[in-house]
C-alpha cells in the first residue's frame, strides 16, 4: 500500500510524540509510525526525573546546568547544543505542566525538585567547591511514564494520526534527499510505502547489544542501523553508559532517585566506598565514575558476600519516603529479588543503560553526514537514537528526558518549516521500486536454510559485549570482541527461522532486529578499539588518561563496501575550556 503524508515520525516515545504535537499544532499533515503501541515505548520506564534550572528550592541558573552537562560529558559535549538543552529545559517543564503532567509538588504547590548525580551549584561557603542542587522535577519514580502518557494524551486531543504496530524497515533516499520509509504492517505482514517530504527517526536506544541492560527487548537500534546502511554514519558509538545500580544479573534499573533521596552504596565490608572516589559528591557523582568504582571494589575483593556485586542500602530512608517517592523501584526489589528493601541490602551491579552515540544531527535535529555538516535533506533524528551531541562521553541523569523533548520539539518545528519550503520545490520522486531491498532481505531470512539460530547468535553477541566492551575495556578484549562479532555476522547470513507466516511474524522481525544490533555492536567495538584514551563512559585499561591533544573529537563510523571506516569530527567549544574532571 502507498501512503503520501508530508511529515513522518518514526517512533512514539517522548521524542517522536513531541515532534508530532508540534507538527500537528502547525497544521502539517503528520503520521506517527511505531512498531509498538505508543504507550509501550521505553520513555515510559524512565524513573528518576527531568532537570531544569527552575530554582524552586534554591538558587539555580541554566548556565550551571549547561556547565554540569559539559563537565559530566567529559568535555566531548558540543557546547552550543548544551546551551540549548539547559535553556529550553525550563520552558519544556512548564509546557509539560500546562499539558497536565502530575509532577510532585512542594508544600506551597510549586513543582518539587530533587538532587541528581552531577547536577551542582557553587558552595556558598567556598565557591570553588560544588555541591548538589535540587534541579530534577519528578513524578514519584515514574517520571517517564507520566511524560509518555501526557504526550500521548495530548496527541489524541490534537487528533494525531497513528500507525501502530508498523515496523519501519528501510529509509528511502533519492539523490541525496530523503523521500520516505518502507514499513511492514505487523498484523498482516504487508509492506507499505510511505512517501513523505520530511522523515524523523525517534526510534530510541540499543542496549540490547549487551546481556545485562536496563533496556527493553525492543531497544534494538533500528533507526540508527537503517540510516547507517543508507550512508549515514553512526557517531560516538564507543560511548555507552553503564548505570551503577542495576538489579544483580537482571539489569533492571533502580533509579538514581534512590541515592537522591539519600540511599548509600556499600561494599562487602560495609563501607560507603564512594567517599574515597568522589569525596565531594559521593553517591551523587556521575554514573561513569560510580560504575568504575563499583568494578574496582569488586576486583579488590570487596564485593558483597565475596561476590561480584555491591549493595544499595535504603534501609535508613524509612517507609514513608520509600512509599511516597520510590514506590516502583522498591516494588522491583520485592518482585524480582524477593528482598524487603526496608530490612535487606540490595545486590546491584552496573547495567548497560544509555547510548550517548547515534545518528549525527545539528541543533535542529537535521541529520548531518560528515565533519563539514553536509545535511541529508528532509531527514531528521531526535531522542536517544540521535547524537547532537549534548551528552558527550557521559550523560548526566535526567538529561535524556530533557534531550528527547527539547530536540523532539525542535525537530517538529524545523520539519514544519522544511515541509512548507518544499511546497515550491515539489515532492521528491520515489525511486522505481523502493520496497525491493526490504522484500529481498525478508525473503532471504524466511527462506534461509543455513540452520543458524537467531537466539544463539543474539545471546553470544550480548555476552561478548558485556564481558569485553563493558565498564572497562582493553585492547586484547576489544580485538577478540571484534573477531567474535564478525564471525557472528557470517553466521547471521546463514540464519533460518521457523515462523513462515505473514501476520505477526515476530520470528522474522526479531531476526531483522538482530541484524541491526550486530551492525551496532561492530561500530561500538571498533570505535572503542580506535579511541586510545579514557573519557567519560569509555574507560580503557591500557590508556587510563583523557588525551585532549589527540582525542577531543567525535567519532563517525561509516558503512562501506570495504567494511567500517572511521572518521572524526571536531567538538564545538563555546564557553568552557576542557579541565580535569573531579567531583
Amino acid at each position: 500500500m502507498i501512503h503520501t503524508i508530508d511529515a513522518l515520525v518514526v517512533g512514539a516515545g517522548g521524542a517522536g510524540l513531541y515532534a508530532a504535537l508540534e507538527l500537528s499544532k502547525r497544521g502539517v499533515p503528520v503520521a506517527v509510525l511505531s512498531k509498538m503501541y505508543p504507550t509501550r515505548s521505553h520513555t515510559g520506564t524512565a524513573q528518576g526525573g527531568i532537570c531544569a534550572a527552575l530554582g524552586n528550592l534554591e538558587e539555580d541558573h541554566w548556565e550551571w546546568h549547561m556547565f554540569d552537562t559539559i563537565k559530566g560529558g567529559d568535555y566531548l559535549v558540543d557546547q552550543d547544543a548544551a546551551e540549548i538543552l539547559a535553556r529550553e529545559a525550563i520552558t519544556t517543564i512548564y509546557e509539560l505542566e500546562h499539558m497536565g503532567l502530575p509532577f510532585n509538588r512542594t508544600p506551597d504547590g510549586r513543582l518539587d525538585q530533587r538532587f541528581f548525580g552531577g547536577h551542582t551549584r557553587p558552595d556558598p561557603q567556598d565557591p570553588a567547591k560544588r555541591i548538589p542542587v535540587h534541579r530534577a522535577c519528578y513524578a514519584a519514580d515514574r517520571t517517564g511514564h507520566m511524560i509518555l502518557q501526557t504526550l500521548y494524551q495530548q496527541c489524541i486531543k490534537h487528533a494525531v494520526n497513528f500507525y501502530n504496530e508498523f515496523h519501519v524497515l528501510d529509509l528511502i533516499v533519492k539523490d541525496g534527499v530523503c523521500a520516505g520509509v518502507v514499513a511492514v504492517e505487523v498484523r498482516t505482514g504487508e509492506l507499505h510505502r510511505f512517501h513523505a517530504k520530511a522523515v524523523l527517526f525517534a526510534t530510541g536506544g540499543f542496549g540490547k547489544i549487551f546481556s545485562v541492560t536496563s533496556n527493553a527487548h525492543s531497544l534494538t537500534g533500528d533507526g540508527v542501523a537503517i540510516a547507517y546502511r543508507r550512508g549515514v554514519p553512526m557517531m560516538d558509538m564507543e560511548f555507552f553508559q553503564f548505570h551503577p545500580t542495576g538489579i544483580y544479573q537482571k539489569g533492571i534499573l533502580l533509579s538514581e532517585a534512590a541515592r537522591s533521596e539519600g540511599a548509600y552504596l556499600v561494599n562487602g565490608k560495609g563501607e560507603r566506598f564512594m567517599e574515597r572516589y568522589a569525596p565531594q559528591l559521593k553517591e551523587l557523582a556521575p554514573r561513569d565514575m560510580i560504575s568504575r568504582s563499583i568494578v574496582q571494589e569488586i576486583r579488590a575483593g570487596r564485593g558483597g558476600d565475596g561476590k561480584d556485586y555491591v549493595f544499595l542500602d535504603v534501609r535508613h530512608l524509612g517507609k514513608a519516603v520509600i512509599d511516597a517517592k520510590l514506590p516502583d523501584i522498591m516494588d522491583f526489589v520485592r518482585v524480582y529479588m524477593s528482598r524487603d528493601p526496608l530490612t535487606d541490602l540490595i545486590p546491584i551491579e552496573p547495567t548497560a543503560h544509555y547510548a550517548m552515540g547515534g545518528i549525527p544531527t545539528d541543533n535542529d535535529a537535521r541529520v548531518i553526514l560528515d565533519s563539514q555538516r553536509t545535511p541529508l535533506h528532509g531527514f531528521y533524528a531526535a531522542g536517544e537514537c540521535a547524537c547532537v551531541s549534548v551528552h558527550g562521553a557521559n550523560r548526566l541523569g535526567t538529561n535524556s528526558l530533557v534531550d528527547i523533548l527539547v530536540f523532539g520539539r525542535r525537530a517538529g518545528i524545523d520539519m514544519a518549516r522544511y515541509c512548507a519550503d518544499r511546497d515550491g520545490v515539489g515532492w521528491t520522486e520515489l525511486p522505481a521500486h523502493p520496497e525491493d531491498d526490504t522484500r529481498g532481505a525478508i525473503t532471504r531470512i524466511v527462506n534461509g536454510q543455513g540452520g543458524e539460530n537467531a537466539g544463539n547468535i543474539r545471546k553470544q553477541m550480548q555476552t561478548e559485549m558485556t564481558q569485553k566492551c563493558g565498564v572497562f575495556r582493553g585492547k586484547d578484549d576489544l580485538r577478540s570482541a571484534r573477531d567474535t562479532i564478525s564471525e557472528l555476522k557470517e553466521r547471521y547470513d546463514r540464519l533460518s527461522i521457523q515462523d513462515k507466516s505473514k501476520g505477526f511474524n515476530t520470528d522474522l522481525l526479531e531476526a531483522m532486529e538482530l541484524g541491526w544490533l550486530l551492525d551496532i555492536a561492530e561500530t561500538t567495538v571498533l570505535g572503542a578499539l580506535a579511541r586510545e584514551e579514557s573519557r567519560g563512559g569509555h574507560a580503557r585499561e591500557d590508556f587510563p588518561k583523557r588525551d585532549d591533544a589527540h582525542w577531543l573529537k567525535h567519532t563517525l563510523a561509516y558503512h562501506t563496501e570495504d567494511g567500517v571506516v572511521l572518521q572524526y569530527k571536531p567538538v564545538t567549544i563555546t564557553t568552557y575550556e576542557p579541565q580535569e574532571r573531579k567531583y
Binding site: 502530575p102 495530548q154 507466516s501
Partner: protein
C-alpha cells in the same frame, strides 16, 4: 546458575494455519527466579520460533504482556516461575479477539480508552510558570496515574465478558485520573460520558479488576468514586 526443568502449556492459534486453538506443550530449563516472560522467550528462541507474543520492557511498566497465567491475568514479566507449582498454563486475555497465539486485538480496548476524553482539559491561558497544585490535591488522583493500559483489569471483568459495550475499568481509571485533578476543567463532560448506559453503572463491584491490576491500583474504589461523584451531582 541452577536450572530447573519446567513444563509450559501454551494456548496456540495461528489463523493462517489453524481452524481452532490448540495447546502447545514445552519443557524448558529456567532459573526459579526467572520471569514467566523469560520462560516464554526460552520457548521462542530455542524451541519454537513461531510462538508469538507482545513484550517490551520486561519489568512491568510498558503494559505489553498481560495474559492469563494459570487462570489469572498477569504481566508475564512481573511474575516469577517459582511462584507457580507444576505446569504453568498460559492463555491470551479473554474478551478480545485472538489474532495469533498470545496476541489479542487491542484496538477496541484503545477505542474505549479514547472515548472518555483521556487528556487534560483547561482552556484558560496558562501562567508563565507552573499552575499551582497542593500536595494533597495531587494525592487525590495519584493512584490512577499509575495505569499502564495493559488491559488486565478490563479483561478480568465478568460484566465486560458478557457485555462488550461496557467501557470497562481501565477507561474509567483513566477518566478518574482527570476528574479528580484540581487543574482540569473537563470533569462535567467526562462524567456525562460515564453516566451513559455503557458507563460506570454497569460495574457490579466484583473486584476482579482490583485483584488483576499489576500496578496495585484500587480500581474498584476508583470506579466507586466516580459513581459517588455522579450521585452527588444529582442533588
Amino acid at each position: 546458575m541452577v536450572l530447573h526443568a519446567r513444563h509450559l502449556k501454551i494456548k496456540r492459534f495461528n489463523p493462517e494455519k489453524d481452524t481452532k486453538p490448540w495447546w502447545g506443550e514445552y519443557d524448558v530449563e529456567v532459573q526459579p527466579t526467572d520471569r514467566v516472560l523469560d520462560a516464554l522467550h526460552e520457548v521462542k528462541w530455542h524451541h519454537d520460533g513461531s510462538l508469538t507474543l507482545r513484550r517490551s520492557c520486561a519489568h512491568g511498566i510498558c503494559g505489553s504482556d498481560a495474559m492469563r497465567i494459570n487462570g489469572h491475568n498477569a504481566l508475564a514479566c512481573k511474575v516469577l516461575v517459582k511462584e507457580y507449582k507444576g505446569t504453568i498454563t498460559i492463555e491470551p486475555l479473554l474478551g478480545f479477539k485472538v489474532l495469533k497465539d498470545l496476541i489479542v486485538d487491542m484496538d477496541p480496548f484503545f477505542a474505549k480508552y479514547r472515548s472518555v476524553m483521556p487528556y487534560f482539559v483547561n482552556d484558560e491561558a496558562p501562567p508563565e510558570r507552573e499552575r499551582l497544585q497542593l500536595p494533597e490535591q495531587r494525592d487525590r488522583f495519584d493512584d490512577t496515574t499509575k495505569c499502564i493500559l495493559c488491559a488486565a483489569c478490563t479483561t478480568s471483568c465478568p460484566v465486560f465478558w458478557s457485555d462488550t459495550e461496557y467501557v470497562g475499568p481501565a477507561a474509567i481509571v483513566q477518566a478518574h485520573r482527570f476528574i479528580f485533578d484540581s487543574r482540569d476543567q473537563g470533569k462535567e463532560q467526562r462524567l456525562e460520558i460515564l453516566n451513559e448506559k455503557s458507563g460506570v453503572w454497569k460495574c457490579r463491584t466484583i473486584f476482579n479488576c482490583t485483584e488483576a491490576c499489576p500496578r496495585g491500583i484500587e480500581v474498584t474504589r476508583a470506579i466507586g468514586e466516580v459513581k459517588q461523584e455522579l450521585l452527588l451531582r444529582r442533588f
